[in-house]
């Protein structure tokens, strides 16, 4: 069982106005086959934690490890999907997906064949040769997801990947994500602003509170497993239990914004 873990991790930035504590004493594990979703207002340290997992940011206190080995920098075992796709617009869709394989020196015909398979998996069959500029936001996010999957990461780190999409596209992407995740054994760490999205996807849901960023509360929803077991998405999102948890989370976020850190 592999695990991506933060133990008492803190990050303090030095700025012109002195030190800013972005993250304080956060302990959170992302296990194999789990979807850990971080929810919270802007500036509550969620993205900093993702940066720690990815290896973009260095912890100023505590530790961040993969299987107990401290993370030294970014690596393809922890692929990242960005909110603003971060694709290479001069490359076609398939070349973007194949980018990580190109870095490893996989020959062009082979890597493009694998890229086309992945594009089919994310529902973009027939778009392999398309330019990124010709694609909609939802299609670009699919390309970004396929690009991350191409390097066969053990963990997927997703920074508000669906934040810029319209509601229907967003729901379609949530379903796609669950289908790709099912049985893959991959651990996913996902950041979102949407309470509904967090509840629907998460196997573990952590609520962040701001200044300094810390985990205020933890939940263990099972709606994603229920969906994969065959329950229709509308029934789940309309389930009284789902709606009750949604309200509880909304209240908790509001309380956190008004009164500072919540302890739960």
């Amino acid at each position: 069982m592999t695990v991506l873990s933060a133990v008492g991790a803190g990050v303090t930035y030095r700025s012109r106005n002195g030190a800013v504590e972005a993250l304080a004493g956060v302990s959170l594990d992302v296990g194999e086959g789990e979807i850990v979703v971080a929810l919270g207002a802007s500036g509550c340290g969620k993205s900093t934690l993702l940066g720690l997992y990815a290896g973009f940011v260095r912890a100023t206190s505590g530790q961040v490890m993969v299987d107990g080995v401290p993370i030294a920098g970014p690596g393809p075992d922890r692929a990242v999907v960005f909110q603003d796709d971060a694709l290479m617009p001069w490359l076609s869709a398939e070349e973007n997906v194949a980018f990580g394989l190109r870095l490893r020196g996989v020959p062009r015909p082979e890597r493009l064949a694998r890229a086309r398979n992945l594009l089919r998996d994310v529902g973009l069959e027939g778009f392999a040769g398309h330019a990124i500029a010709e694609m909609s936001g939802g299609m670009r996010q699919r390309v970004g997801l396929a690009r991350a999957l191409a390097v066969q990461p053990r963990f997927l780190l997703m920074d508000e990947p669906l934040g810029a999409l319209d509601e229907l596209t967003r729901e379609r992407m949530q379903v796609l994500l669950l289908q790709l995740w099912q049985g893959s054994g991959k651990g996913i760490f996902l950041i979102t602003h949407s309470i509904e999205e967090a509840l629907f996807l998460a196997t573990e849901l952590v609520l962040f509170s701001p200044r300094p960023g810390r985990i205020a509360r933890r939940f263990r929803p099972d709606f994603s497993r229920r969906f994969l077991a065959g329950e229709p998405i509308r029934a789940i999102k309309g389930d009284p239990q789902f709606l009750a948890m949604r309200e509880e989370l909304a209240l908790a976020i509001l309380a956190g914004e008004e009164e500072g850190p919540i302890h739960g």
Binding site: A79, F82, W90, G100, L103, A131, I132, A133, A148
Partner: protein, 258 residues
């Protein structure tokens, strides 16, 4: 900008037509003496003569060829020096701190002001002209490259690193292509600067070249050659501009779409 509607093209043609008619009117009516401004017909005839018989020892094509060779060579030197220097300036603040003051110091100085110094160092041959144009091109190209490198979306770099890119791979597969639109814009500006510097450089000590041709004609009061030379210089500049715009559309058409 590149694809103006038909109505706009008509406006352009109309302006040119009016100017040409005006030119023809004031010269054919005898309002302006041919010594000051020869008519369009005389200039056109002169261009044919220049191509066939030449002027001051070389045909029009030889003059233009000499000029283009100087700019081409300078362009080549500037590309292999200014683009790497600009990349390094954009990538490493320390390198920028070392080079930026130097570039910003000489950039605003008109090339003709330091031409005498280059003449003292390198004589009045081809080397001097190529060095002068290279220097004029170097600054705008290096600055454009550096700013292009600094503007690269940091998420794009992070994405590549998380996919396993080494530092060199990030530079050549992410940063360089991301900065290419800015580099090409810099090249377009630099080429304009280089071309105007060239003609000026040829006014001093040359035996061939468009600037030399115009200068000689002016001293001999052969006004139709002067006008013909100016027109040819303008047309070549326009052709280079269009060529670079085509290259931009062809190779970095993706930029500006997002």
């Amino acid at each position: 900008m590149d694809k103006a509607p038909r109505g706009h093209a008509l406006s352009t043609v109309a302006t040119l037509g009016v100017l040409l008619a005006l030119w023809w009117g004031v010269t054919a009516s005898g309002l302006v003496a041919p010594l000051f401004l020869p008519g369009p017909g005389a200039v056109a005839g002169r261009i044919v003569e220049l191509v066939r018989d030449g002027f001051v020892g070389a045909t029009l094509l030889q003059h233009a060829g000499a000029s283009l060779a100087r700019v081409g060579l300078a362009m080549l030197f500037a590309c292999v020096t200014a683009i790497p220097v600009g990349m390094a300036m954009g990538l490493w603040p320390r390198f920028n701190a070392a080079f930026d003051p130097l570039i910003e110091f000489y950039r605003p100085v008109p090339p003709l002001a330091y031409l005498p110094l280059i003449v003292i160092w390198f004589g009045i041959g081809e080397v001097t002209k190529v060095i002068l144009i290279t220097m004029a091109i170097f600054a705008p190209l290096a600055i454009a490259t550096a700013s292009g490198v600094r503007r690269v979306d940091p998420d794009r770099i992070r994405a590549a690193r998380s996919l396993g890119a080494s530092r060199d791979q990030v530079i050549w597969l992410v940063i360089f292509p991301s900065a290419l639109p800015d580099i090409l814009t810099g090249l377009r500006i630099a080429l304009g600067v280089g071309w105007s510097t060239l003609v000026a450089a040829e006014l001093v000590a040359a035996t061939r070249g468009l600037g030399f041709m115009v200068q000689s004609a002016s001293q001999m009061l052969v006004t139709d050659v002067v006008v013909a030379g100016i027109l040819v210089i303008a047309f070549i500049a326009l052709a280079m501009e269009l060529l670079l715009r085509w290259i931009e559309r062809r190779f970095v058409g993706w930029s500006g779409t997002r």
